[in-house]
Subunit: 399 residues, 2 copies
């Protein structure tokens, strides 16, 4: 995973890092661990902020990344590199130790996220235009597999959504226009194995793999319910769960579709954002039936479990996007309402959950809270921050 | 967490690392991520082997660590430093980037393992002699709290076992001689809060915190059953579970007590090594009752879930310690028997579970297996290897 570099270039890179960091050389270590690094997407300026969550501080800015609306990132297994997926089809590989762009490829015209394989060797990007998935070598960003999302008579290509990694170097994704879920086995990247599940529902708009890598779930925009695939039992096919989940027959106004990737799993239960309703749904992870609804302040967008599963944190669509609420899992109720400020777009927990970072777009701030006391412990300037991603994601399944 | 170092020292450290690595400078990067690093305990020679699990290779040796029988390790939150707990009471802080011992303290006469706090600032060591827990600053190894394990009339001190971290900067541990479980809250290290549970059973010999940080379980040597504490509900006290678990009324010969820390949690179930019997017990994680027993080749020692929970890997006491068996979780049966060689002492999965490293003491080898195909993909020389620890542990609860 670590590319060869002659010694001279190495020192140059160190110098570049020290210069870019904007800090005097003596105050910064050249050698440092990568386990506490992360990036914050500064969407309006095509830039990411490099941060460290031990010291809760900014380290550097890395610019020139194109359109970062809805941008997401994954990390190399050594924690040194971030792969940033831009809305404009740009895939950028960043070196977090030198704060530089190692390589950037324009791999499609319109794209929305990606994933990294279990072994860390492959980065996959899901594309709207042209619809499909492209798979790149994580070291070189060379294209190693191109999977067009053709359907029907083979002339049309679908937008791809809900791409996630699964154990066995597999990628699972959903064809929005076709209503299909595909499982791509990249064990042999030269010959991807493809299994297609058709007729899974109308307009699947996002999907996720559960944290244990077992289940893939796609949300449906065109009808109520969710499509569930058990990856441990792929012959059983896709089945429908939670028939009442969705916009309903008399749709409520939906200000922002919830992000499925934020769904939380804690203590054998899933916590899902209701669509259009001021509720978080609690679903039994064994029977896949709804067991409770928890009232919250607004239409939930991200519903995220603290890593130990004791709390679930929720942010909201307009007009409530200045708030964050905390659900206590055993109480099954909101125990705290915070008001970080207008435009709360994303949350990211530190790896063991003692703190959470919250991006507050309209205040150009990232706020950091202690999850035990709910006290704000830091506020960092950031230009219209959106997604926050820590390197610990490299060790997790389904990101 | 990152100590200040003047620039000159920094380059010296880089040079030292390149020299120690035993590899030509140009073939090694000075800057590197720490997410794929790990150490292998070479117990007989007081040394650890620094390894990288992306390339499955040895990077360096770090010597001078004293008696490493039963040694264990935890990692700093940035992944740069390992804290190695020796049997002789030595606590060593290793820099994995420079392959050097940063600091070593002889903090007790006889000791057996430790833990790092949720926020990464405190390292705790459990001591047999003098019995108690000492807590150190993770940056400096300065002593910040000393918790003697006094009991009864206050004149006796107990051996401490089963120390584990829990959310809220707490450490939970067990007093072997007293039959007590203590919860130490180190939110304010100068004034540790202590809560003691007495009469939890005879001779508790080890303990663990479940991966979600919610339950603490102590094994009992002096009687059957296990002691369970729900850390979400500490007022409920300690209760007894699995009354049939243990050596039984007519004890079987036990060649090696199983390691509790290896117990596996997968899909809401716990997989426990039976004591003295050739079985792995399956326990429901909600009701804490036994739901199945899976026959295995020998007396299990470590029972460890692959990170996605699809498989559980088991090694054994003599005379079966040359074997490893793999349980398929949905089948609830052994699906593969491997024979790495005599003296299989420990297993460690790569963070996302695609491979597993196995130490084979009597062959001076660490063998690496692909967990999908069960093929051996590498074998590295190591001197009487025992414990294997990867930096991804820094991100996990209860290690």
């Amino acid at each position: 995973m670590t590319p060869f570099r002659p010694t001279v270039l190495r020192w140059a890179a160190v110098a570049a890092w020290l210069a870019l960091s904007g800090l005097p050389a003596a105050a910064e270590t050249a050698l440092r661990g990568t386990g506490d690094l992360g990036i914050v997407i500064e969407r309006a300026v095509g830039r990411v902020l490099l941060v460290e969550n031990s010291g809760r501080r900014r380290l550097a800015e890395i610019a020139g990344l194109g359109d970062l609306s809805h941008a997401a990132a994954v990390f190399s297994r050594d924690g040194r590199y971030a792969y940033v997926f831009g809305r404009d089809g740009g895939l950028s590989k960043l070196d977090l130790l030198t704060a530089t762009v190692v390589k950037r490829v324009e791999q499609a015209g319109n794209s929305i996220g990606g994933a990294i394989s279990q072994d860390g060797r492959l980065v996959a990007v899901q594309n709207y235009e042209p619809g499909g998935v492209k798979v790149f070598d994580a070291a070189t960003l060379d294209l190693v597999a191109d999977i067009p999302a053709t359907y029907g008579d083979g002339s049309a290509r679908s937008k791809v959504v809900g791409l996630a990694d699964a154990p066995g170097n597999r990628f699972v994704f959903t064809l929005y226009d076709a209503g299909e879920i595909w499982v791509a086995d990249l064990s042999d990247p030269a010959r991807p194995g493809l299994r297609k599940y058709t007729g899974i529902g109308r307009q699947p708009y996002d999907g996720l793999v559960t944290p244990d890598g077992r289940h893939y779930i796609a949300g449906l925009f065109g009808e109520d319910g969710l499509a569930l695939l058990d990856l441990w039992n792929p012959d059983a096919g896709v089945r429908r769960i939670l028939d009442g989940y969705g916009r309903g027959e008399q749709p409520l106004p939906v200000y922002k579709m919830p992000h499925l990737r934020g769904w939380a799993q804690a203590g054998g239960k899933l916590y899902l954002p209701a669509v259009g309703r001021h509720e978080v749904l609690v679903v039994d992870g064994a029977s896949w039936t709804e067991i409770a609804r928890i009232p919250v302040k607004g239409q939930p967008v991200f519903v995220m479990a603290r890593p130990d599963g004791r709390q679930v944190w929720v942010n909201f669509a307009l007009p409530d996007n200045g708030f964050v609420q905390v659900i206590d899992v055993p109480a099954a109720a909101v125990v705290r309402t915070l008001e970080p400020g207008p435009g709360v777009l994303h949350l990211e927990f530190t790896p063991r959950g003692e703190q959470v970072w919250v991006s507050v777009r309209d205040q150009d701030r990232v706020r950091v809270y202690d999850t035990a006391s709910f006290a704000e412990v830091a506020a960092l300037p950031a230009d219209k921050p959106s997604g926050i991603f820590f390197t610990a994601r490299a060790n997790r399944i389904g990101f």
